[in-house]
Every structure is written in structure tokens, then in C-alpha cells.
Symmetry: C2
Subunit: 222 residues, 2 copies
Amino acid sequence: MHRYTPVAHIKSEHIPRATIQRLAVYVQVLENLKRDGTEVISSEHLARICAVNPSQIRKDLAYFGEFGVRGVGYYIEDLISAIKKSLGVDRTWNCALVGVGNLGRALLRHKECRTRGFNIVGVFDCDPFKIGEILAGQEVICSRRLVEKVKELDIEIGIITTPPERAQRAANYLVDAGIKGIVNFAPTRLSVPEEVEVEYVDFFHNFFNVAFKITLRELPNG
Amino acid sequence: MHRYTPVAHIKSEHIPRATIQRLAVYVQVLENLKRDGTEVISSEHLARICAVNPSQIRKDLAYFGEFGVRGVGYYIEDLISAIKKSLGVDRTWNCALVGVGNLGRALLRHKECRTRGFNIVGVFDCDPFKIGEILAGQEVICSRRLVEKVKELDIEIGIITTPPERAQRAANYLVDAGIKGIVNFAPTRLSVPEEVEVEYVDFFHNFFNVAFKITLRELPNG
């Protein structure tokens, strides 16, 4: 039963990046609430938990269609699936993880990956001492075998968690294997063909932001 | 010698979050260029490397003052220090890392932390098997000793890399110790007093964004 008008397709490719980012936070918060048994939430309450302005939340959700029910709030389950559908992520994506250092191991054990629809189905490294190791139930495979494995395992997204000096080589293997997108955790820029989507994970803006907010608080007129 | 009008103070506390995030990327890219010996860069070139619109870059930089020199471009070293000064991060911050699982270990070995001005000077865990272990030259200390150590080591920022179920306890120790800000890598919301700044690291928006862009490309009219 639909309680809102379903969004049939993505309305615009010009969804601001900041909106996508906030929507990803809303989905995380909503999934936690759902797990705890909450079924309905008001925009004020959702705003408070997400530390966002209520009018901002209403604006962000209006962007994708009408999800709310006047006087009731939002049905959490419907809202989650509507946001995911609008973002095109209401499905699972098979991912290859390249580089099994500490960060790669942390990601492999990160339960949220699967919950969010990103299944790491292949684990790769070029270190002969790591190849063959079993991590989170998966055997580490030589990165040279990416071409063959990407096809076999129907992988669309590559995750790079190598040291920076090996990231470009990892990207080359992934591109040669026909990957569609890369999430790069290595602190270096990659050169890839235009048809491959790359996202750079950089958590230093979070550090800068905390530092910036502390600095503001400590200004004489703060 | 100053080649531009220096920014004496932060002009507004209402710097949009998206701008801060882009500035953090510019600093990273500019620091890589500086390391490679580049001294001057045009906004068009910087825009290309950062995959941002040139007018966006000029707008972002104009936000903080006038850095460019007409017909020449930007002096990289000046630009880096001006952006950092504007963000209030042209200094070092002593940080405590709480939780030495794979992610904590990855962060401890992440050379960029120190380069960016965030020095991890104390490493904490509550696991008796980890306490006393030496990691990246530092001894793992019992989390219960945070109050004493935060004062002794002049720590202002706490980094939480515990499993989600232990993150709130870590936050409590940090708050009791008088920390000013927290960067939380654990996938859970924290409850802290209003005077403590919290930033949540969530890289799933990067995954969502890649998935979203792949989906858009594959639309019939994409």
C-alpha cells in the first residue's frame, strides 16, 4: 500500500551534492530508527536527530516528491525506500575491494556496507604474502586477476584502499576490468577515463570543521 | 612578502558546509602541487584537477578574501595558508584516538593527519589485551585515564574509532576529560553536551553518489 505518490523516476540529474549528502545521513538515521522499532517520525524530530534545520529537511525531501502525511509525519519505511529509489540505490551493488591494509580490513568488517546495499564480493591485493589469506570469509585474490573476476562476479564498483603510491595501478586494473565507478580511499587523485565515475573519500573536512567550530567558539565575540 | 590582502579574521561563522568541504579538497590538491614543486596555478587548472567548475572555485575563494593575482593565477603557498587561516586551522591540534581496531590503526599510520595539523598524541582503548601495545611509536593507554591524559597532553580533539556499541562510552570519557570537539568514525549518533562539537564521518554518501551517477548514466535518456 502506497501512502504517498511514488517517485517513478529520477527527476533531475542536477541534485546538489550537499542534498545527496544530507539524504545519505537521513537514510542512516532512519534505518537506525527502523531497527529500534519506530514507524513514524515528524520532520522536527528527524531534524533534531540529524542536527539539521526542519525547513531544510522538508526542502530536501520535497526535492524528490511528496513523502509526508500532514499531521502525522513520515512513514519511516516508505521514506527510506523512496529516498533510496530516488537516488537510484534501492538495489545491491557488487563491489571489489583493492588493498587489504588496516583500512581495507576495517571496511570488510564494516557491517553497514552490506546493509547499505554495497556487497564486497571480491577482495584483491598485489602482495604475495596477503594473496590466499581469508578475510571476513573471503579469499584475497591477486589484483592481476581483476579483469577475469569483475566479469565472473558481476562487479560494478571498485573500492581502493591501497597506499597512495599504489592507487593509480589499482585504478588501472579496475578500469581495464570494465568497472563503472570507483570509491577511492587513498589520499591521491586518480586519472581514469571520463566514463568511469570516481568519488574521493576525504574525512579531513570533518577534522577541519571541528577545528573551525572550536576556533569560532573561542573568538572574543563567539 | 604578502602578495594579497591577508585575511585578518574569520569574516562569518555562516560559511556553508559545502564550501568548507570544497576548501578542504583545494587544500589537499594544493599541498600535493606544492610538494611537486608547482608555485603558481590558474583557477581553470585548479578547477580541472579538483573536478569543480572554475566559477565555483573563484566564488569559494572570494568568500574568504582576495587571493588571486590577475593574469597570473594563485600563489600556491599563500593560498594554502590563507585558506587554512580563514578556516582557523593554520595551527596544530592535539588529538586523542579512542579505539585501536583496524580503523584506528589505519588512522594512526595515515601520514596526512600530521600534515594537516592533527597530531594524535594519545592512543586509548579499554581492551586489556591492547593496553600497553606500542602502535606507531605510541603506547596504548586505558581509556579510563583520559581525564588525566587530556590535561597532561593538552588534547583538544577526540577521535572515536571504537565499535558502535562502545562509542557513547568513549564520548563520555572524552567529555568528562574536557575535550572541545569529537570526530566520530563509529556508525552511531552520540549524545554530548551542547558545548562539545561533534562531526560524524560517513563515507556512505560517496558510495551512494557513485551508485547514483552510474544509475543516471544508464538511464535511457542519460
